[in-house]
């Protein structure tokens, strides 16, 4: 039977199938972090269970870690991190703690180690696990009791999902990035448009993307409500993986590639839904509101809620403008920014930092603007330093930080003050996400850097 990529990966992981029951799927890789794992380990302890496959489990510390040198000062953050360390020790789970050369945001660490591979099932107690779908893996976020279930059994009982093809046709214009693509996709289908679906990103524009850019796209699938996002593996994927620490080697490599090459949606496979995006029409895209679907091309103006037909969306837009302190009709390029954040599992990889640095090189962050550059992992940080990117950032007046989630969710000290406005390369612009009362505009690294220079939302072409 013809199948989609997602269905093929699903089928190859079915441990048990019975009428009227969810399929039991095997999980190839389970990533954990300090926020969503403590109760899962506690549950194991209460029931006297062990971790079935510590060797398929990896823990990192990311959400709470400070990005300036020194210990964690917040007591809650410290408890979570210390609990994770104790749990990993007790249950034999490998961990990359703060200060370790492999520490970083969980969704940056897995791929860069070569742990995320095509055709795998990858889960993590974190919604942005969808990032790993860029490799043609079926990767999704899970709740704490599911974390416990995977720890104990290395499997998950799952109900089937539907599939949606996102066809991004044509070639992206110069200066338009993966972030612009995914923001445009979310604006088109809405924050609930992907509900119950696994999205498969397809088409010329997607094939032309690097692995890191594909991760940016898949990362934000969840912001359209989707279970997961995927891109079929191809030569770009294989080239990225080859030689990585955990990638297959020798004869294994050839066997693996032969398997991976099968991981495409069949010609006559049927998707439950399809969406077409014309890549040639895309421009740098930014959000103006308080959910990731409230976005527009940078050249547009803040929308007038009165022109929105849907009643709920209109009300949401009105609330958003009030919270964001914006008024209808204002050109987006006139929005003044206080803080620029470059980082997160959406855009904290080396290519993102290179992109931001290429804009900042020889320029200065505008007076009164704070610009934070937070690498996604310790490795990314080292590599950036080896390439001299850190010097570009600091010479431009930006702050070069230690790796972690940082201002993506403001669980550590990196926060917006009430009313403060950011251009952020992260993935969520919810009210208060970057600090109580903070106002977030989601942007690409290029737009973030150009905005830092101008002090207003801007693309590199505006400089």
């Amino acid at each position: 039977m013809a199948g989609t990529l997602a269905e093929k990966v699903w089928e190859s992981h079915v441990v048990r199938r019975a009428d009227g029951e969810p399929d039991l799927l095997y999980i190839d890789l389970h990533l954990i972090h300090e926020v969503t794992s403590p109760q899962a380990f506690d549950g194991l302890r209460i029931a006297g269970r062990r971790v079935r496959r510590p060797d398929l489990t990896l823990a990192t510390e990311d959400h709470n870690v400070p990005t300036t040198p020194g210990p964690i000062t917040d007591p809650v953050s410290l408890t979570q991190v210390e609990t994770l360390r104790r749990n990993c020790e007790e249950f034999g789970v490998p961990i990359y703690p703060m200060g370790h050369a492999e520490q970083g945001i969980v969704h940056v660490v897995g791929p860069q180690l070569g742990l995320t591979q095509p055709g795998m099932t990858v889960v993590c107690g974190d919604s942005h696990t969808s990032t790993h779908g860029a490799f043609g893996a079926l990767a999704f976020g899970i709740g704490t009791s599911e974390v416990e279930h995977v720890l104990a059994t290395q499997t998950l009982p799952l109900k089937p999902f539907r599939t949606m093809a996102i066809n991004v046709r044509g070639t992206l214009p110069e200066g338009v990035t993966a972030k612009d693509v995914v923001l445009a996709v979310i604006a088109k289908i809405g924050t609930g448009g992907g509900q119950g679906y696994v999205l498969e990103y397809r088409g010329e524009a997607i094939s032309a993307l690097s692995m890191e850019a594909r991760m940016t796209v898949c990362n934000m699938s969840i912001e359209a409500g989707a279970r997961a996002g995927m891109v079929a593996p191809d030569q770009v994927t294989f080239d990225y993986l080859k030689g990585r620490d955990h990638a297959p080697s020798g004869a294994d490599w050839d066997v693996a590639v032969a398997d991976w090459e099968q991981l495409v949606s069949d010609e006559n496979a049927v998707f439950d839904a399809e969406v077409d995006i014309d890549a040639t029409k895309l421009t740098p895209f930014v959000t103006w509101g308080t959910n990731p679907a409230q976005g527009l091309p940078l050249g547009d103006s803040v929308p007038d809620p009165r022109t929105i037909a849907d009643e709920h969306e209109r009300a949401a837009a009105e609330r958003a403008l009030e919270y964001m302190g914006l008024h209808a009709g204002m050109p987006l390029r006139d929005i003044r920014i206080d803080t620029v954040f470059v980082g997160s599992c959406t855009n904290g990889r080396i290519e993102d930092l290179r992109a931001a640095a290429s804009v900042l090189e020889g320029r200065q962050v505008a007076n009164g603007v704070r610009c934070l550059v937070v690498p996604g992992s310790a490795r990314v940080r080292l590599q950036a330093e080896a390439e001299g990117l850190d010097r570009v950032f600091t010479a431009a007046g930006a702050e070069w930080r230690l790796p972690g989630c940082s201002m993506c969710l403001a669980m550590n000290p990196d926060k917006l003050a009430p009313g403060e406005r950011s251009a952020s390369t992260s993935n969520r612009n919810f009210e208060g996400r970057q600090g109580v009362g903070g106002r977030t505009h989601l942007v690409s690294p290029q737009v973030a850097a150009a905005t830092a220079v101008r002090g207003f939302l801007a693309a590199p072409a505006d400089l």
């Binding site: 441990v15 109760q39 510590p54 979570q80 490998p94 416990e148």
Partner: protein
């Protein structure tokens, strides 16, 4: 998890609809790293009010919550179920539950019994008549009995079976451990391991 066949306990009338998970357990209580002790956060805001039902002595030790429609809406936090169970509740009766809450409850051994709105009203009336009186929730016969009342309730077969057997998700899966092991033996050798 403990099996649930029949339970007799004090019925606590919660005369509110749309009780969301933020009201069941406010976000400030989510910072803990354990799975017990959440009872102190249960309905924390409402418990400030001395007249709130849980503050009334006749309902001390209550274990069956009888609530208005749309119980458990809002965020998917499992802490809402932990808080109810840590407090001592074994069952919640309502005419409508939020899906995720219902799913989370079934997984952890909290029975969510669905009855009509009129039936909720009659149970509330029963509670008013004899505050602190016990009622019985019989899962085997899917029947709530309180005084003269005898009210059938809905629960899906799968959840009922699991509750009767006392099987949590992990326990269920572990019954198929052999299949998991067989699957592991078939996995391609090139699949990565962390260490």
């Amino acid at each position: 998890m403990d099996s649930f066949t029949t339970h007799t306990g004090i019925a606590v009338p919660l005369r509110r609809s749309n009780v969301d998970t933020d009201q069941i357990i406010p976000a400030v209580y989510l910072k803990r790293v354990t799975r017990d002790g959440f009872e102190d956060g249960l309905f924390a805001a409402w418990r400030q009010d001395p007249d709130f039902v849980l503050n009334q002595p006749q309902y001390a030790g209550g274990s069956v919550l009888v609530a208005g429609p749309d119980f458990g809406t809002g965020s998917s936090r499992e802490h809402a179920v932990w808080a109810l169970m840590n407090y001592g509740f074994r069952a919640v009766i309502s005419s409508r539950f939020a899906d995720i809450f219902r799913g989370n409850s079934g997984k952890q051994g909290l029975l969510t019994a669905v009855v009509s709105e009129a039936d909720v009203e009659s149970i509330w009336a029963f509670c008013d008549e004899i505050p602190g009186a016990a009622l019985t929730v019989d899962l085997e016969s899917r029947l709530i009995t309180a005084g003269d009342l005898s009210i059938p309730f809905e629960v899906d077969d799968y959840t009922r079976w699991r509750l009767l057997e006392g099987l949590d998700d992990v326990g269920l899966t572990l019954r198929h451990e052999q299949l998991v092991a067989e699957f592991e033996a078939r996995r391609p050798a090139y699949k990565p391991v962390v260490q």
